[in-house]
Symmetry: C2
Subunit: 740 residues, 2 copies
């Protein structure tokens, strides 16, 4: 590609984001027409930046005409149609070749997809990770061939023609649903419905926060939109209502959602289960709502809606785009049969004929290819321009620049871990939820990308960062997030934040038992390598009177079985700090911290560093790696194991106490280390954990005993329940004696 | 109590449900006043029944004035106030004594609670299980002292004064949140927010279904309301939006929800996270919405709202009742501090003084006691009257009566299990999801209370009952439920259906991986002993191309760890039928069936009855209970184990193949039986399951090998993934040979 032409193009692009008609009314409800098809040229970007700003009082609520115009409208309607049909047929052909997939959505959404990627969005196909790119989320992830076709046309290296031909095949970059960890250019992992729109709320929150925190009157270094396409399915899911309620509450004006209103879901017409008034609901949630009645061919309608959405800066916008699922298929359009199966050779031919598409499978017509080819130089220019802008920013605002850089590179500030608190056995006994708060507050001071909050349990989860205020519509520079009672939305929003920039370290909190409400999002954290920290307090029957609805039993086991997530159950201050250390360091593995409501002593033998091993010897009076018995505990029960060990030692036994704070980390240790902790010859082993014993056979073996709770809990003071359930030092001593 | 007086009372009560002012407009928005405080008397109930009906075309949409009036307004305002304050102080005193609990909601909601239980609801305190009772659900379950106080005043045996004094104590009938299995009079188990309102949707659905199916022009044998109190927290949860969208869609006109609009949640004012327009959202969901501005003392406003709600028969109604949390507490009312902690002795005294309450703790003033005492005879009379009505119904409509009786007694029709299909090895190979559909359709014919559906995956989950149509607003007598893409709401609605009457056997379906979306409700099924059947298809990487977002890995383990739930993974037709048999028989334990998308052969050695053991020997060529190796499989991998066994036997090995279709059932077997299946001496054991190996140590021991998947799945054709992941007969053979 020619470098000189890219420079020229760059200028043209930059000009397109300039205000042309003065500041439009941010609340205008009219549908403006495109009276100026060719963008006026301008030479400097700093002018553009300054002219975008208003005075500080309104800066978070009302943003002026930044990028109010779409990037570049293509006036050649035939070319647009051809490009749109290219997208449709790439999807049709890929699904047909795989004989698996979902052609309906791409065929219906190709027009909005085309306009977004060809005319509206700012991105650099050669660097999918460019920080200031616009984000796009396909919340209706089953329609991923739409996104793959768009990434292909736009020039992303991950989706070449051969990749399209490998759609849904082993180790391809075009898996069955969009996966950020497989396909650079895909921002988040979607497919489970409703996750994507909630991720998008997180992405838009991240932008709003960073913009408020780092932008300067003379340098708007953070400035991008978040676009999302969601379908009927997403809108039925509770998670989307949770996240969208927050988006409205927070006034995420740069979040623009396209609702693919096609009236078809897998079971048929949405009339059978989805007759609510979606527009009215979104208005109730504080969104601006626009209806594009002709999403199939109404290109100017779509463009006008985007323009209007951008003009509304204090609310997120939902553009309801009425489309025909499977548009172009003469016999299957507008029916569920086109949703999730290949069209079949005959219908593919009929569709080719119907849409006048003479090309062979996977063919991109030359003029379409040529048209899209400009995005590579354009994208490079956009990034180069931004880099120059950042260089200026760095020069003028070095401290802010360092923080922002840490966030967009993911490089943690040197020595951050020194901020972690340490404890000695003399430190006061405390609940690990309180110790967690000490850690959160320590980390908040040293980690620029650290932010988070609770689902309406901040004062129970102990998650407030005392040096910050609340992230709210008018104070988006703050870092305490208030999620309300919306666990599922909270988790998915945190995934969006984590995947916005590698240096973001979002945490979120609720009672451990309510991971049941957010497990869908937590699994996507693990799968999509989003290093969210889950601060889960009230981690056992130790919470007492609230009873079995609030007492986790099976939850530790359920997460220990989940791939790529650390399940920590720290026993005291040092283990809590150690868990945070591992959690912060592992940006591609989420962590769950199960924390106590009740006070726990600071135990001798624990340490921050030991946590990294997952399991370690806390105390031992044996010699030659041959204890009479090994007592294993986690969290609040490590104290019980310790007390039992003292008792047994008084009676002359050689007793080892092991903390298994994270099974995953312990599993990752060498065989030698594991043998040092659990010698194969020592089969007298007793575990104690106030939770299901499921899975403990791995450590206590066939000859050991696992003390736990294989029933639901009960409502009573914690001490009483522990006693009634036999979770006592006496119980451990008795079990140990029966084995050695 | 005097029987004669109860008869008189009965007549008075029955008359109160008669229409007095003709048919009110069902969509009237005005707030009618109570112009007729004393009910007109009438002598027959059949008259009442007939006059309630309109012609068939509109019968499901518009119900006439059945019970449009509240039961009995108390005109003595002072007595009402005194009763309301009794409720407040019972709550205050119980929380104070326990030094744990939530006084704020009961103090704020006492007025609506009083009107509901004293004036509106029809129930029999001496038989909390009377079929035709009105149902009440406290969705904001933390405020359970409201319900306990009401049950106490109303005369329920489970909540006597000593029980109130044992609030939140070990083995009391007044646990920390309402639990149906602990407290007769409590319908469902709430506490986890949003569950209750969704349960209530299920209860109201059950009533609407039964009424449409069994009521006759001359005998409306099914006729009750479902009332629910929910708070801000419930309304923030996505599950409530899901369930309420369905309630609107289904037009559940006899569902009346009170939204305790107190503007306070745990983190403080709802302004910090909940600023959406709730009224508008509910209108968008198809609800009738009424606002009671003074919920603290506006008794007539509350009464009028209920009257209006009953007049709107084609929509559920949300009555937003603006209250003051902790009403009456001079220093803590209207703040989060009164939400979830005892007031403290000083503030209790201040509140006593403020509300003019001279009594000692737990005291119910004599006139209040006297006033409420009428509910025992009244309730008995209501039930007696209904029993007479049912006797007439049974005489005239014996077949319908038998079906209805089966539903309200829970007694299954004799010989129902003969309907289950059986299979031989010659039966065609098929996916267990298809075999499941054969079972569902067989059971639908013989079980009157069998109904259910899918979360928009009926054609993938194979859950349609072919002899029935869809339960819809205008066809509520049908039994196929269409939940839309709302898994969490679906589960909780099924809990409500299951707990409406013991003979209801609801099933619901989605992909197994999306149990992550509904786990909150599934856990409540298990805890609250609601025998829901979860039909979970696409149970492993065997689903293929949809990839890791859709492929369960840790889910089997996660449910095996959960108390009181059966996790079945049937291998073929017989095991599928066996799983259904156990599921239907166990009405207090929910069941999950993990079913394959892919075809599986009918294996020799499987049987319906064997499934009841949970684990059993499928094939064996060893003698003396001493096989060289035991191969264990579940579901689709039992075939792989079988093929591997054939191979090993050809090589001269004595090989046992064990199916572990339900670990819970196997665990419940005798030690002898378990030893017969897994002799302790045989340590050469290989398990194969296309899922996490977590927990398999229990069966393969420390010396065996577990073949499984301890990572996320992948997008590719199923066969390819199985091969790449080593889930093959060759893999099993190799593992076996390494052990024996």
């Amino acid at each position: 590609m020619a470098t000189s032409s890219s420079l020229t193009l760059s200028q043209a692009i930059l000009s397109a984001s300039l205000p042309r008609h003065g500041s439009p009314s941010p609340l205008s409800l009219s549908l403006p027409s495109f009276s100026t098809p060719t963008p006026t040229l301008s030479t400097t970007s700093s002018l553009s930046s300054t002219s975008r700003r208003r005075g500080p009082p309104s800066r978070h609520l009302v943003r002026a005409s930044a990028a109010v115009e779409t990037l570049e409208k293509t006036t050649d309607v035939n070319l647009v149609e051809k490009s749109v049909n290219t997208i449709r047929f790439l999807a049709i052909d890929a699904v047909e070749k795989a004989n698996s997939g979902h052609p309906g959505l791409p065929m219906g959404c190709a027009p909005m997809g085309h306009i977004l990627y060809d005319e509206v969005m700012r991105y650099n196909p050669k660097n999918p990770y460019w920080f200031n790119r616009d984000r796009f989320v396909l919340s209706a992830g089953h329609g991923c061939m739409l996104q793959y076709a768009l990434l292909h046309l736009a020039g992303y290296d991950a989706v070449k023609e051969e990749d399209l031909k490998q759609f849904r095949q082993w180790e391809s970059s075009t898996p069955g649903h969009p996966e950020n960890f497989e396909t650079p250019g895909v921002e988040v992992t979607t497919g489970p419905l409703g996750q994507g729109i909630a991720n998008a709320v997180g992405l838009a929150l991240a932008e709003k926060h960073l913009a408020a925190r780092f932008n300067k009157p003379d340098n708007e270094i953070v400035d991008h939109y978040t676009y999302v396409i969601l379908g009927d399915g997403c809108n039925m899911e509770g998670i989307s209502n949770e996240a969208c309620s927050l988006a409205g509450h927070w006034g995420l004006g740069k979040l623009i959602a396209f609702y693919d209103d096609n009236h078809i879901s897998i079971d048929g017409d949405t009339e059978i289960a989805f007759t609510e008034n979606v527009d009215q609901r979104f208005e109730a949630l504080g969104w601006h709502v626009i209806w594009v009645k002709n999403g199939n061919t109404g290109y100017d309608e779509i463009r006008a809606a985007i323009k209007e959405a951008k003009a509304v800066t204090d609310k997120p916008t939902m553009i309801k785009v009425t489309t025909t699922i499977g548009f172009g298929s003469p016999n299957k359009a507008n029916s569920y049969s086109v949703h999730g199966a290949a069209l079949g050779a005959k219908e593919v031919e009929a569709t080719r004929s119907n849409l006048g598409w003479p090309y062979e499978p996977f063919h991109v017509p030359e003029d379409v290819k040529q048209h899209w080819s400009r995005h590579t130089p354009k994208g490079g220019a956009l990034e180069a321009e931004w880099n120059a802008k950042f260089a200026a920013y760095e020069k003028k605002y070095p401290e802010d620049a360092a923080e922002l850089k840490s966030i967009f590179t993911g490089e943690l500030p040197a020595g951050w871990e020194k901020a972690l608190p340490t404890y000695t056995p003399e430190s006061p006994a405390d609940a690990t939820r309180n110790l967690s708060q000490q850690n959160l507050n320590a980390l908040a001071k040293v980690l620029p990308g650290f932010l988070g909050g609770s689902a309406d349990l901040a004062s129970s989860n102990m998650t407030l960062m005392k040096m910050f205020g609340d992230f709210q519509k008018k104070t988006p520079e703050e870092r305490n997030l208030r999620f309300g009672v919306r666990e599922h939305g909270m988790g998915a929003i945190c995934n969006g934040i984590a995947l916005h920039s590698p240096g973001f370290i979002p945490y979120c909190a609720t009672f451990f038992v309510f991971t049941d409400y957010m497990r869908g999002a937590m699994r996507i954290s693990a799968l999509s390598e989003a290093g969210v920290i889950y601060v889960m307090t009230h981690d056992s029957i130790g919470l007492g009177e609230d009873g079995p609805t609030h007492q986790p039993i099976e939850h530790l086991a359920s997460f220990r079985a989940m791939p790529n997530i650390f399940m920590f159950r720290p026993a005291d201050g040092n283990e809590t700090a150690g868990a945070y250390k591992v959690a912060v360091l592992n940006r591609k593995t989420p962590s769950i911290l199960a924390l106590s409501r009740q006070k726990l002593p600071q135990l001798p033998g624990t340490s921050i560093d030991a946590v990294e091993k997952g399991g370690y010897i806390v105390s031992d009076n044996s010699t030659g790696n041959k204890p009479d018995v090994i007592l294993v505990g986690t969290g609040s029960e490590l104290e019980i194991a310790t007390i039992a060990a003292e008792q047994l030692r008084k009676e002359g036994k050689a007793v080892r106490v092991v903390s298994l704070v994270s099974w995953e980390l312990f599993e990752a240790q060498s065989a030698e280390y594991k043998e040092r902790v659990f010698p194969a010859d020592v089969t007298a082993r007793v575990s104690i954990e106030a939770a299901s014993t499921f899975g403990w056979e791995k450590f206590v073996g066939t000859k050991g005993k696992a003390i736990g709770i294989d029933r639901f809990g009960a409502s009573a003071p914690a001490g009483k329940i522990y006693k009634e359930f036999g979770l006592t030092p006496e119980g451990v001593v008795a079990a140990a004696k029966s084995l050695c």
